[in-house]
């Protein structure tokens, strides 16, 4: 195993997910009252900032199994897009609109992108150059 010190992608990813979950709880716990969107927007913005930070950190990793990252990441993205679509469908089914719909839709988008990044990173971080050179049994 070639175990370098990986960037804290998992930790940042979990923090990012926690922020959008907090924003979602804030909004959903006040239904049907009108609540200021600012706290939810701030939480979403912080979550997006962590997502961008993670992407930058990942881009700067030197030796990394990118083919495996994308191989796993794309299928995870498909799966979490379906799950995100389900969540979005429930929002629309219940006539959610305006600011809350925008904030929650963007939160779902962050969720649907960040989870596949976490999955791809966890798989690819255990990069083994020998294994990579020899190929593997994975299609």
């Amino acid at each position: 195993m070639t175990e370098r010190r990986p960037p804290p992608v998992t930790e940042l990813g979990m923090a990012s997910l926690a922020l959008i979950v907090a924003g979602g709880i804030y909004l959903s716990s006040h239904i049907p009252n009108h609540v200021p969107l600012t706290p939810a927007v701030v939480l979403l913005a912080a979550s997006v900032a962590l997502l961008i930070t993670n992407l930058v950190l990942l881009a700067r990793v030197g030796e990394f199994d990118w083919p495996r990252f994308f191989q796993v990441g794309k299928w995870s993205l498909l799966a979490y897009t379906v799950i995100g679509g389900m969540i979005e469908y429930v929002f629309l089914r219940n006539h959610l609109k305006g600011g809350p719909l925008v904030v929650l839709t963007l939160s779902v988008a962050v969720f649907s992108v960040h989870v596949p990044i976490l999955v791809g990173f966890t798989v690819a971080r255990f990069y083994n150059p020998e294994e990579s050179a020899a190929g593997s049994a994975i299609g």
Binding site: M1, T10, G13, M14, L17, A18, V21, A22, G24, I25, S28, S29, H30, I31, P32, N33, R68, V72, W75, S76, A79, V82, I83, M86, I87, Y89, V90, R93, N94, F111, V115, L118, V119, F121, T122, V123, F126, N128, E130, E131, A134, G135, S136, A137, I138
Partner: protein, 207 residues
């Protein structure tokens, strides 16, 4: 089959010679039959939400929630310790049979439970601030939120990573051990949090 040299735990050394190659059975990381079944369940949930009818929403929320709770508790407190005490070959075989199924079952069960639950709460008015036990409902949001972050950030990636590692020509035993530890500890935490879910849901249902 793939052969891999793997370090035996102390208690297993009598059973197999040290550094004996362990055979890894053939397996699919994502079982295709499971995907079809998951698709059927998700389609059922979509129909239930579209119909906005009490019984199907109750069915998917209660059946999905029961499955989610029991699987987490059983995995965290029963299967986890058992797996820890297994010999390495037995553990590898068990992992290759269990983990692909978990990969399909858990996201499906969680999505069905939460989507049907939210729609049910909307239909019954249980997610409104005027609901008498609104604080319990918000508590359930928080518990589910924490569980989601742990499941999505730790458990699910470890589940997939261990299967990908086992598919390599020369899987690294240390990586598998590390990922399985992460998976079992995360499952244990989720199992403990499911007790909180049980308390909240029975309180809401009985009021």
């Amino acid at each position: 089959m793939v052969d891999v040299a793997i370090t035996e735990p102390a208690g297993a050394r009598e059973a197999a010679p040290e550094h004996a190659p362990v055979q890894i059975p053939e397996f699919d990381i994502v079982p295709r039959v499971g995907l079809v079944l998951a698709g059927i369940v998700i389609a059922g949930v979509i129909v239930a939400i579209a119909a906005n009818s009490r019984w199907p929403l109750d069915f998917f929320h209660v059946a999905g929630g029961a499955a989610w709770t029991i699987i987490d508790l059983f995995l965290g407190f029963v299967l986890g310790p058992i797996m820890g005490s297994m010999t390495v070959p037995a553990r590898i075989e068990f992992i290759t049979k269990l983990m692909p199924k978990m990969l399909v079952i858990m996201p499906t069960v969680v999505t069905a439970t939460l989507a049907a639950g939210w729609q049910l709460a909307t239909k019954l008015g249980a997610n409104l601030t005027s609901y008498p036990h609104h604080s319990w409902v918000v508590a359930s949001f928080i518990v589910v939120g924490v569980m989601s972050v742990i499941a999505l950030g730790l458990l699910e990636p470890a589940n997939i990573a261990v299967l990908v590692e086992l598919k390599k020509r020369r899987p690294n035993p240390a990586v598998i051990e590390r990922l399985m530890k992460r998976f079992i500890y995360a499952a244990g935490i989720l199992g403990a949090m499911q007790i909180a879910t049980l308390v909240i849901m029975t309180k809401i249902a009985s009021s």
